[in-house]
Symmetry: C2
Subunit: 242 residues, 2 copies
Amino acid sequence: MEKYKIEVCYSPALFPFYENREAIVVVTDILRASSAIVTAFMNGVERVIPVGTLEQAKAYKDRGYMVAAERDGIVRDFADFGNSPYNFTPERVHGSQIVYSTTNGTNAIQLASSGSQVLIGAYLNISALADHIRKEGKDLLILCAGWKNKFNLEDTLFAGALAEMVLEDEHFHTICDSTLGAMDLYETARDDMMGYLEKVAQRHRLKKNNLDDVIGYCHQFDQTSLLPVLEENYLVPLRNVK
Amino acid sequence: MEKYKIEVCYSPALFPFYENREAIVVVTDILRASSAIVTAFMNGVERVIPVGTLEQAKAYKDRGYMVAAERDGIVRDFADFGNSPYNFTPERVHGSQIVYSTTNGTNAIQLASSGSQVLIGAYLNISALADHIRKEGKDLLILCAGWKNKFNLEDTLFAGALAEMVLEDEHFHTICDSTLGAMDLYETARDDMMGYLEKVAQRHRLKKNNLDDVIGYCHQFDQTSLLPVLEENYLVPLRNVK
């Protein structure tokens, strides 16, 4: 039986070595971009337009768009709000379009666009994501946004959790060391995820800016079955998800 | 107390994001280049000249040098021998100079040369390496050669083992997610290293070419206190190691 392969790419800078045009690419930036994007769709946003640079984000703002933009966890002056999932309230986002630019996540989304389908992954939608991937029957590449092209633990743990779920289907396999490593790290962390996350660098960055209140929220499983998918240059909810 | 920091870089392609000119850089390619280089010095080689390309290696061969050169585990036609530590016998290497080119390891050594000191690390010399780093009192950057710029487990486990040893000295600390991840993976693997290595991709590559007989050898601790160090463009044994 020909099996679909799973790979994990730990940094956008490594993407050229993992690129697979046949694969579904799941982009994750658990703290906080991918969790925020999934939250925006849970709260009824119509479209999220990820942009890589602040200049692009500002140009959209000048044209009247609502803009969420941060760098290093700090909201930019010209933006309506920043990167916390708590900003994407129904009152703000329902029925609207949002332009979104973050330190790591939005560049990763643009990079991933060579895949056969690009989805945004978070714990909030992880089971629906795994179900969809198993049903589609394609290779899976999980792209961790990382931190300024460095490896980070929180995205890696998510990649391990998702890989484990998809591998429950015998049509999938992995011979990828980074997938195996991610799964082992997830197994180490899973019984006390909040305790484990005490040590990750991004937690310290968020805490320094009093932004660490979202860590628990971003590690809640299965709050939605919505799957944000990239169409052309914007994200919309994938249709036909059960 | 100002502490020296430890970082681990999982791929030569990520080196620009971790580069630290103040740091001692330890380059590792456990299966098999760094283990082979340490073995060569154990067996009395005078100098190892790492070269990145096969063309450079061949040019040295044409000038009469002894050349070890392989790609993807296979010895190249023009070379005297390949990458197995078993090739570097005292009969062959004692008192001589060897030009060396491998798929991943030798490029990583050249990349690392911006560090304050570049050492070759393997389990074979791990305790001597940790002692030296603790005595020097400088930042430590462990550069994993990986596999064609992808993450690999066997180099990561070594990085975790070395980081743990150095961190026993309270003058060192780490806030680097890849170091923390490497240490956790090493803790997962250490009690049954050979069992754990069953799954790594490089073991399967070596097995396919009947080259996996060296895996046990390459995971033996402390067979020597010799530390190969980069001077200009060649490796020699570091002096003044106890």
